[in-house]
């Protein structure tokens, strides 16, 4: 051995202790690492595995272009246009509380706020909008000026988490034309996202609100594309895991004629505004608060034009409606312009209903087309006197003449007699109610627009249910009313016998009054049935659906809702009556059509003035033309518009002039018709 072997000195005790300390420290530190490792991998491993996947996979959703809405001739009513938008990556910018997640995010938001001239709170609210999917950039500004987009792109390091993109937005080449029919787009709500029918939707998706956008949502929407990428740390795409191309929505071709639609909107608006200068007998002028107009194809039920006054501007809804505009369109003082009155306004029809009650009397066999019934100035039933609009006795007349003259007492007498017949029956066959339903009243017609109302066709059953619901109220009020007064008598009567369908109810209903309520569309459809040989068709706005290549995918066929139980002679007598209203001297619509080329375009129609006390009467005019070969139905109603002949008929006349292109170039805008309050 090279080295001499010494007996080594024993290690000092302190050295042993110090080495033991080192050993203890080693056990402690390695133990800490092991414990942490156990926590990360075994206890929290699943959660980290999920994080690893969300790290790795990026889902990019591409919107399918929404289908266009076209007029029947293919003209564009609603299309898409690309809009520059700035979008924010929510995960990078805000925390769960909706506040900037770090100093850098705060600076980004401040810069963007200054750039967009939008206050920081609003901006943060948009970024944190929970209706958007967190995995997709949230558009915070749409229709951004190109120089702003350029600024963001050139200084991306100052705007971390903000990206510029082009997104399709709705464009309305015709402006607010047919606003009520088109509807608008809004973001899907949190509640809707929970519904099963919206299972395909994600937060932030746009959804049709109102109009065709809503009723054809499924078809117009198409299906969004989705690509799942595998990305590395720097966000570079390594691989595509799955891909689904977007499927564009279908284009909806409607029955609408944009020129007619424009003329109808204009005629309605101008007519309503002009009628406000008509002074009534009591010295006040007509309120004419709102109105509707419907133009329908008699042979298909297709809606060629439909207008509601007042209207709104759907472009205000592109990219999110402002709270000011939202308040404006919901303000009752503005007439609630979002209301689509032709389908959601429910009014007493007044005399335009007489085609229905007339048909009922024919069906009941009380009269034939040639039966003549007296037309006195008033009609008294059980001490109650019901007046004709014309106080003079017009003598006996047939149904066609009764329609021409809009004779109330003719219908009073028949209605009361029918009521008496039904009172004797064990189970009354309520023929007026049944025929009303055959005409499409009292139920939804099923037009392809949201918000349609059914109206009310009252009868014995309806009366009783109504009474049972409100009886307690009548009785209470009767008890509190001044004893012996007329009011108390009436309330006591309602309290005790209000559930009875009386003769007076039947009499009132026969001229479209009482509890009867209809929508303007229902009235248009009723006249469509008369004009179409008794066949009632479902009204539709949509005509066919086409794919992006223009191929027709689905045709919306006319659908028969009912066939009136009238003989040709009976039907003809009603048609004849309507023709005489407009075209024969003494007809209630003659005045409004003076100067109209009736020889060329014969017109059949009916005036109506519906009482709705204490309001000013509602004006109605419903017509179809050409009378000998009907193509169009026109229905006009004006809330508190006075006499139908006075306000509604001139509007309908102007619409007809446009429909048949017979409007003289020098024609005055609106000429009030004679004041006949039928």
């Amino acid at each position: 051995m090279s080295f001499s072997v010494n007996v080594p000195p024993p290690l000092e005790r302190s050295t042993v202790l110090r080495l033991a300390f080192m050993a203890a420290l080693s056990v402690l530190l390695l133990g800490a690492l092991l414990a942490r490792l156990w926590f990360l991998q075994v206890l929290a491993g699943d959660r980290f595995a999920e994080l690893a996947d969300s790290n790795r996979l990026r889902t990019v959703v591409s919107q399918a272009p929404r289908g266009h809405i076209l007029a029947s001739d293919g003209r564009e009513l609603v299309i898409n246009r690309p809009a520059l938008a700035l979008s924010a990556d929510r995960q990078l910018l805000v925390n769960a509380a909706g506040l900037p997640r770090d100093a850098q995010a705060e600076r980004t938001v401040r810069r963007l706020s200054a750039l967009l001239d939008l206050d920081e709170q609003t901006l943060l609210r948009r970024i944190a909008d929970v209706r958007y999917s967190p995995f997709r950039p949230v558009p915070v500004a749409i229709d951004v000026a190109p120089d702003i987009v350029l600024t963001v792109r050139q200084n991306q390091e100052l705007f971390v988490g903000i990206s510029a993109e082009t997104i399709p937005v709705r464009e309305y080449p015709e402006g607010d034309l047919a606003a009520h029919l088109v509807g608008y787009l809004g973001q899907i709500s949190r509640e809707e996202l929970g519904e099963t029918r919206y299972v395909d939707y994600r937060g932030g998706d746009l959804i049709g609100r109102g109009g065709l956008e809503q009723s054809y949502e499924t078809e117009l929407r198409g299906r969004g594309g989705q690509e799942v990428f595998v990305v590395n740390r720097r966000g570079s795409v390594i691989d595509v895991q799955s891909r689904r191309d977007p499927q564009p929505g279908l284009d909806l071709v409607t029955w609408l004629d944009l020129d007619i639609q424009r003329a109808v909107e204009q005629a309605l608006a101008e007519g309503i505004v002009a009628s406000r200068s008509i002074v009534r007998p009591d010295g006040r002028s007509l309120p004419s608060t709102a109105g509707s107009a419907v133009v329908m194809d008699t042979r298909t039920g297709g809606i060629i034009a439909m207008a509601s006054y007042p209207s709104y501007d759907p472009t205000e809804f592109v990219g999110g409606v402002s709270s000011d505009y939202w308040a404006f369109v919901n303000d009752p003082a503005q007439g609630q312009p979002l209301n689509n009155r032709p389908i959601s306004g429910q009014y007493p029809p007044g005399s335009v209903y007489k085609i229905v009650s007339g048909a009922a009397m024919l069906e009941a066999g009380l009269v034939t087309p040639t039966t003549r019934v007296a037309c006195p100035g008033s009609y008294t039933v059980a001490d109650v006197t019901f007046r004709n609009w014309n106080p003079n006795n017009e003598g006996p007349m047939d149904l066609a003449t009764a329609l021409k003259r809009s004779c109330d007492t003719y219908f009073y007498d028949l209605a009361f007699r029918q009521w008496q017949v039904e009172q004797r029956q064990d189970t009354p066959d309520e023929i007026v109610q049944r025929v009303s339903r055959e005409f499409g009243l009292g139920a939804l017609l099923g037009i392809d627009l949201p918000g349609e109302r059914a109206g009310v066709v009252p009868g014995r059953e309806w009366r009783e249910e109504f009474w049972l619901r409100y009886r307690d109220g009548y009785c209470e009020r009767a008890a509190r009313a001044e004893p012996g007064s007329f009011g108390q008598e009436l309330l006591l009567d309602l309290c005790r016998f209000g559930g009875i369908w009386r003769g007076g109810d039947a009499v009132n209903m026969s001229i479209g009054q009482g509890d009867l309520l209809v929508t303007p569309l229902q009235m248009a459809s009723a006249y469509q049935a008369i004009a179409n040989e008794g066949v009632l068709l479902r009204p539709t706005v949509g005509r066919e659906l086409r794919d992006a290549d223009g191929a027709v995918v689905r045709t919306i066929e006319p659908e028969v809702l009912s066939v009136l139980d009238l003989t040709p002679a009976e039907l003809r007598s009603i048609q004849r009556g309507l023709e005489r209203v407009v075209m024969e001297p003494g007809g209630t619509g003659v005045g409004a059509f003076s100067g109209f080329p009736l020889a060329q375009i014969p017109v059949a129609g009916k005036t109506g003035t519906a009482e709705r006390k204490p309001l000013v009467p509602y004006a109605w005019f419903t017509a179809y033309a050409p009378a000998d070969d009907p193509r169009y139905v026109v229905a006009v109603s004006v809330e508190e518009g006075g006499g139908g002949s006075q306000t509604a008929a001139p509007i309908a006349r102007r619409i007809l002039e446009h429909l048949f292109d017979v409007r003289p170039p020098d024609a005055p805008g609106f000429v009030p018709g004679p004041a006949i309050f039928d």
């Binding site: 080594p8 110090r18 390695l30 800490a32 991998q41 790795r56 770090d102 740390r233």
Partner: protein, 394 residues
């Protein structure tokens, strides 16, 4: 210091018996080789090679480069390391004593040279220098040089080292510490500090001196803060780790790294995703996952079972190193073994702790595993020192 042991030993005789004896003499060291030390250090190096290969597999494939580019460089270092290990084992540490001062001074010179334009800067840190065609990291060499120098210093001491000896030791450490700190490499300077502390502890320096040193160390640290000697980012890395908001993107980066590291390791679960199957590894989600963050590859692909096994291997090495220290015949042998254990413990804890999110991000490599030739060579060399010390135990 005594230089008595320098030079060849007693001349051998010319007889056949003498030749055999000389041969046996040469083989003598192998008799004392601790199989656990050899096995665990080689196993760790092997895990390192596989993990490095895996960490670069996807990236290199994507770039169309040979997938073994990193692996082969590390393999070369491993071979050099093995040679050094055998040499360090065979060459009696007592004969090393004479070279220690020169080794220390030479390494110190290299550390100075690194800071000159001769050094190579990577990511703002001047750490490498070209030596015989290799990029060498002198700060790694200094770990051995400082350990040996301190061991030699205290070997001369009889009884409890006094204040003067302690001060000399601190002096030996402070010079390289300052040079490394200037690179800047806070992590490695902390290793020197820790190593010195461990050496002072085991060599019997009075506890009160140790406490005084700790106090003055803390004072220096605060002085460093006041004079901005400690750079902002170094401080901020610590504050970020302690939960403060990241002041800018650079530190968001450090947070990102820790977060990604935890995700990678955590997603490994109990059994791991399988070798070469790690998605986070393949997609390079964890920056530096072949060097400082190599443990994430082990954690993700081999799971808790694999990662715990690696920790266990370090545990075995630590146990053997401290056992060898306790059986050493000389004080310097004891100090060397304990010092190796000390550096190993610190680097493993700081590095693995960093990947597990319980220690701040500092640039310390994981012994045996991290990519980096110098580090692997040094660690195999230190293993050799352990074995060497183990030959001559009681």
């Amino acid at each position: 210091m005594s230089f008595v042991g320098i030079g060849p030993g007693r001349s051998g005789s010319g007889t056949a018996r003498g030749r055999v004896a000389r041969l046996l003499d040469l083989l003598a060291p192998l008799r004392g080789v601790d199989p656990l030390v050899v096995a665990s250090s080689l196993a760790l190096s092997g895990v390192g090679l596989v993990a490095i290969y895996s960490s670069k597999l996807a990236t290199l494939t994507a770039q169309g480069l040979p997938t073994t580019s990193f692996l082969s460089r590390q393999l070369i270092a491993g071979v050099i390391g093995l040679v050094l290990m055998v040499a360090a084992t065979v060459f009696d540490y007592r004969r090393l004593r004479a070279f220690i001062p020169f080794g220390y001074l030479a390494t110190l010179l290299l550390l100075v040279l690194v800071l000159t334009p001769l050094g190579t800067s990577v990511r703002g840190s001047q750490r490498w220098i070209a030596l015989f065609g290799f990029q060498v990291q002198p700060s790694e060499l200094m770990k051995i040089a400082l350990l040996l120098a301190l061991a030699m210093l205290f070997n001369e001491t009889e009884g409890t080292p006094g204040l003067g000896r302690t001060a000399t030791a601190v002096g030996l450490a402070v010079v390289p510490l300052g040079l490394v700190f200037a690179q800047p490499d806070l992590g490695t300077s902390m290793v020197y500090l820790w190593l010195t502390g461990v050496v002072l502890l085991v060599s019997g320096v009075r506890v009160r001196y140790l406490l005084m040193l700790a106090a003055s160390g803390a004072a220096t640290f605060f002085l460093g803060l006041r004079t901005e000697l400690i750079r902002d980012y170094q401080l901020q890395r610590l504050t970020v780790f302690l939960g403060a908001d990241a002041p800018d993107a650079d530190f968001a980066g450090a947070l990102f790294q820790t977060r990604q590291s935890m995700i990678a390791i955590g997603s490994g679960g109990t059994y791991g995703r399988g070798l070469f199957e790690g998605t986070q590894t393949a997609l390079a989600y964890v920056p530096d996952n072949h060097t400082d963050f190599i443990f994430t590859v082990v954690g993700e692909e081999l799971g808790f079972v694999g990662a715990a096994t690696v920790l266990a291997l370090y545990g075995v090495l630590l146990w053997r190193a401290l056992a060898i220290a306790s059986q050493a015949v000389d004080r310097d042998a004891m100090i060397i073994a304990a010092g190796v254990a000390g550096i190993l413990l610190m680097q493993v804890f700081v590095n693995v702790g960093m990947t597990l999110g319980i220690m701040p991000v500092t640039g310390l490599p994981l012994p045996f595993l991290s990519y980096g030739g110098t580090s692997l060579i040094i660690w195999l060399g230190m293993t050799g020192l352990l074995l060497n010390v183990n030959q001559r135990r009681r």
